[in-house]
């Protein structure tokens, strides 16, 4: 396989793998967070407002990990720096 093909295959496989592996951790974390927030709300319905606010902020924090992975895989697929380098080298 020539170097163009190598870069293309490596980028696409890595993008998929990055998304797949990167979604597992945040999914487990968000599940745990929602679980404990729900049981706290069931125990103390009076504190629902502050619990919900903290839950949202925490979920956004956890979710940003998955978003990082997504941004990386988007860059690998759509704006790959190595790919443009290889194309330039092959063309010029």
């Amino acid at each position: 396989m020539d170097s163009e093909g190598m870069v293309a295959v490596a980028s696409i496989v890595t993008a998929g793998l990055c998304m797949a592996v990167g979604a597992i951790g945040p999914a487990l974390g968000q599940g745990r967070a929602v679980h404990s927030a729900l049981s706290s709300i069931a125990q103390q319905p009076d504190e629902r407002n502050s619990l919900t606010r903290t839950l949202f902020v925490g979920l956004a924090m956890i979710e940003s990990l998955a978003i990082y992975c997504f941004v990386i895989s988007m860059i690998l697929v759509f704006a790959n720096p190595f790919w443009t380098y290889v194309i330039k080298k092959a063309g010029g």
Binding site: S50, S64, Y68, V71, M74
Partner: protein, 259 residues
């Protein structure tokens, strides 16, 4: 109407107008649109405010927004938060309007470009020491970096930078992913399913605007409360006192019911 093609990752790459080194891209144009909408909208609303019983519906809307932002900030920072309303409220309104307008065809959210979100995050990064120094004085503010001891100084610095990066990438990633999902769905299953995703996008936009401003408020509040004040704050709200207050209010309420 497609403005940003599928292989373009940000609206910065869509150039509307170019003259020598001046490049007007889609991000700039839509940022100006949102700015104009906010500025002229609020000018029109505040041109004739009334203190009477009857007020215009737009004044009512402005009061509802301001009251909501003020009570939310007051609850988060546990102090009088009127100083922070101009900054945090503007951040919230700008992100909210630019996210919610995505349901209009032909509009691209300026927040789906990394340059806009990075600029907003840098604003927060600069505002944290400014508010902190204004509240505590420069010596007391700098002391916070050396707590609990000298070894923690590099970690505080790293934390400042990494949370700024996280703010920028979180907003950008959410909005950009939403746009890409819509574009892909339009190609795969047109007509019905993209509409559902658009409705979900409204929710995402609202939550992201809320989270950005809440996090900015949390960062500023944590920088402008000194170490001693934090300890005092915990002492004041001891659970026994709170329980007593609750019993007292219940008793008062029962007495009032009997009257």
């Amino acid at each position: 109407m497609e403005i940003v093609a599928i292989n373009q990752i940000s609206p910065d790459q869509v150039v509307f107008f170019q003259w020598r080194w001046i490049i007007i891209n889609a991000t700039l144009v839509y940022t100006w649109l949102v700015m104009g909408l906010l500025v002229f909208g609020s000018l029109l609303i505040t041109r004739r405010l009334s203190l009477e019983r009857s007020l215009s519906r737009w004044q009512n809307l402005a009061e509802v927004i301001l009251g909501g932002v003020r009570s939310e900030l007051r609850e988060i920072s546990r102090e009088d938060a009127d100083n922070y309303i101009p900054f945090i409220g503007t951040l919230f309104l700008f992100i909210l309007v630019s996210n919610l307008l995505t349901i209009l065809p032909g509009y691209v959210a300026p927040t789906s470009s990394l340059t806009t979100t990075a600029a907003l995050a840098v604003l927060v990064f600069l505002a944290v020491p400014l508010f902190g120094i204004a509240k505590l004085g420069i010596i007391e503010y700098l002391k916070e970096y050396f707590r609990p001891n000298l070894l923690f100084f590099p970690f505080h610095i790293m934390g400042e930078f990494s949370r700024t990066l996280a703010l920028a990438v979180r907003l950008f990633g959410n909005l950009m992913s939403h746009e890409k999902v819509i574009t892909i769905l339009l190609a795969v299953t047109p007509l019905f399913f993209p509409v559902v995703m658009q409705a979900l996008g409204l929710l995402i936009g609202l939550i992201q605007a809320y989270i950005f401003s809440v996090l900015a408020m949390v960062y500023i509040a944590s920088a402008s409360q000194s170490h001693q004040e934090k300890g005092d704050g915990e002492k004041n709200t001891n659970p026994l006192e709170k329980g007593r207050m609750k019993v007292w209010t219940v008793k008062a309420w029962l007495r009032w019911r009997r009257l």
